[in-house]
Subunit: 471 residues, 2 copies
């Protein structure tokens, strides 16, 4: 492979966190969660392809807010291609393609999702290697997973004739919508049907050509963005919001597919855990602080609080600090409706967790009542919050672990465990952890208004100057 055909990975990470609620939230979608082990889904995605694609060739397409959270998880930070808002996969892939094209018009891009599970990672790598060879010949290569069950939640691809020069590659006969159970059973028995994984390999130039051919409006918008022809926010908002499958692939004559048994799963809903995590003898997946009396084939995901399940069959229970989901497995796809309802009710439980991560550490709202709010605040070693003040609240701090360096007005002093201090309303203050150990404080805020937006920042290690986010 010649140098100018450098392979880049484009990881789509724009998930909205609706179907894995309440574990995922709008501000903290599932790719940021450790669902299967020690790594979050996005960490696993990157480490999985690291044998093939160097870190500096990895590009993550996401929104600015999620980019902040992803940076906390990935070291060194990869490249980010930030979308001002979500416009489905055609726009996201197009934006990535024009970005990569500028760097190298002959490059190859591998499109991956941040929320897939792949059991046999070596087979994926083999597929990508083969895909690269086929893509170099001008094909749009999709990766197809051999079905292992009559899944109705996935789209399918029907393979056509074998490619002439590549053992393992096929033409694509057609894309198939998510089938009903009956059709899915037929597809399972027919070798020609593969699950459409949404992973692709192609030359940057070829996908851009095909976008121009089948989605001229998108192509024009991308050109305008590329040439700086207006605010990206406005241009991006005007792009068509369709999937790359529907907008381009289903129409293109350049399609190829590589079938493989890589143990792929889209972690698209709570049901997906069934295919991935180990089960007890009654078919349950039980994680956390759970008491089970006679349940079967159920998924119980507890966190700190106690969850007791009695006599359940085919039920998903997911508990978090501020919200609990109980869902029939049959209806797991409808969890997103819960999120929609919460949005219309202007609740917060669809948007954020009780614990909010910050570059300096994290805070957890323990309770909010009339006139007060209690937070547990954790500050990483050698980190500090911004120098800030509030117009409508004062704060009482009790150190429960570690040592705090406190700036309060003109004073600078240290307080340790079992010591407290008071930050009056309007006074400039800063909380800092100079030590090598974590610092934990309990903050009791008092005031008539306790919103996170009551903050003026005067200095910050993380470049935050707008009155937008707490700490």
């Amino acid at each position: 492979m010649s140098d100018d055909q450098t392979t880049s990975a484009v990881v789509l990470a724009g998930g909205s966190g609706t179907r894995f609620w309440p574990l995922s939230r709008e501000a903290y979608p599932k790719q940021l969660l450790k669902i299967f082990g020690n790594q979050t889904l996005i960490q696993a995605t990157l480490s999985r392809i690291s044998p093939l694609i160097p870190q500096d060739q990895i590009h993550i397409v996401t929104n600015p807010q999620q980019a902040e959270q992803i940076k906390l998880q990935l070291h060194p930070a990869p490249n980010f291609i930030t979308e001002p808002l979500g416009r489905n996969t055609a726009a996201a892939i197009g934006l990535a393609a024009i970005t990569l094209y500028k760097k190298n018009p002959n490059g190859i891009m591998v499109v991956l999702s941040a929320d897939h599970f792949i059991r046999n990672e070596n087979i994926l790598l083999e597929q990508i290697r083969l895909g690269r060879e086929i893509a170099a010949e001008g094909y749009l290569v999709t990766l197809g997973a051999k079905p292992t069950r009559p899944e109705t939640a996935y789209g399918y691809i029907k393979t056509g004739a074998a490619l002439p020069h590549f053992s393992g590659g096929h033409k694509v006969e057609r894309f198939v919508e998510k089938p009903d159970r009956e059709k899915a059973l037929l597809y399972l028995q027919n070798e020609d049907f593969l699950w459409n994984t949404g992973m692709f390999v192609w030359k940057v130039s070829v996908i851009l050509e095909e976008i121009s051919r089948y989605m001229p409006t998108l192509a024009e918008g991308l050109k305008a963005i590329s040439e700086g022809g207006g605010p990206i926010q406005d241009i991006y908002a005007s792009l068509p919001s369709v999937s790359i499958d529907y907008g381009v692939l289903e129409k293109s004559a350049k399609l190829a597919v590589i079938p493989a048994a890589m143990g792929w799963e889209d972690v698209g809903s709570w049901n997906a855990l069934d295919e991935i995590l180990p089960k007890d003898e009654a078919g349950n997946i039980i994680i956390g602080n759970v008491v089970n009396v006679g349940s079967s084939n159920s998924v119980v995901y507890a966190h700190n609080r106690l969850v007791a399940v009695v006599g359940l069959t085919d039920i998903v229970v997911a508990d978090t600090d501020d919200a609990t989901l109980v869902c029939s497995k049959d209806a797991a796809q409808n969890v997103k409706q819960v999120v929609e309802i919460l949005k219309t009710k202007k609740s917060e439980e669809h948007r954020i967790h009780k614990t909010v991560l910050r570059p300096w550490g994290s805070y957890t709202v323990l309770e909010e009542g009339v006139g007060y709010k209690i937070k547990r605040i954790m500050v990483h070693p050698k980190s500090r919050l911004s120098l800030q003040s509030h117009t409508k609240r004062s704060e009482h701090w009790v150190v429960v672990c570690g040592t705090a360096l406190v700036t309060c007005g003109e004073s600078l002093y240290k307080i340790g465990a079992n010591q407290s201090t008071f930050v009056p309303m309007g006074v400039k203050h800063r909380l800092e952890n100079e030590t090598d150990e974590p610092l934990q404080i309990i903050e009791t805020q008092c005031g008539a208004y306790l919103g996170e937006d009551d903050i003026a920042r005067y200095a910050d290690d993380f470049g935050r100057v707008a009155p937008a986010t707490a700490g």
Copy 2:
């Protein structure tokens, strides 16, 4: 009715709070809960019989701990007959009978349970009036409810011949164990079968005679208690633990039963709510902060936290601050197994709620971590905690509402909202609310040991001097 046949009510309130977990706890069983409206079950029980039996003739049989909680709910406080430990209904009724016999050997007692629901309270009162007449003739009268469905969770009574002199009264042919579904269907079609409500009317002297006849060991124990023949704790522990039905009624020749359609339900498990509370068009009972997408015939009982249910059928979800139950309706009787498991695991979630009621107010543990514990403390107007000290913790108090009068060592001072104070380890202190408004403080405890038993009391308005309970 002559004066010496005064009617007393004996309310059995010794429930262990296992089948309504997590709403009920060992220290806070279901009779103390507002399950159906503005009154707790025990409040409803007493107000229901108030037209017939004066407050000073009501006797509640319970353990000392629950008596404390019940006193907080009933004003004026009724009479208490405290059992040192639970020994089933024969012992509880026997203890009540000897207590009443001393006051009036010719009296009549009505035995009620603190955890029943009765829709048609007037019919109950009519039954009790009739029961009193029949009991005056020497019968042991049980109240029978006409079945409205093939219930398998209740015991039945088969009626015999009509009593000669009392319209509405019958002899009892036999007691019937909880039936299977098939038998329950037969019973429903046969007018002779009634639900055994566990409510009774009899002369105190007659039940004591029958106890002597059929349970001589119990009779001896009761005599020893009555005559002060040893520590009640020891005697009571040695009493047989059987139900009055099994120990006496099933054997007695003096039985009578009064059938009536009073809309009676034993609030014995979560399923009972189905028979009592109104349902939505899909058959759900939904209470609290709940989002429902497509569930049917389910019971969802939420508290503060958000509970989302999706596509459930015949499921009970009960959420509290520290624990969540999800249970198939079929298995509602097995909830008590959860409590057993928690006991063996030495968890606390079967025993207490996060919010613990005290005579002076209440406290809620908001969080407990290594070296610290955070409580929200509410002090009633004109109330105060004991003068106390702790050997292993200090306390930081922030007033968030109201005004606190603080004793700390030799100092006495007031702090208001947004003010704080510090109580060092070992220092005698007291928290008092002199005002007419509630006082709320946030307490952050710091120390190596934070158990509620680290307390020495020097003065207390509620007669608590032992180092047993917090505050």
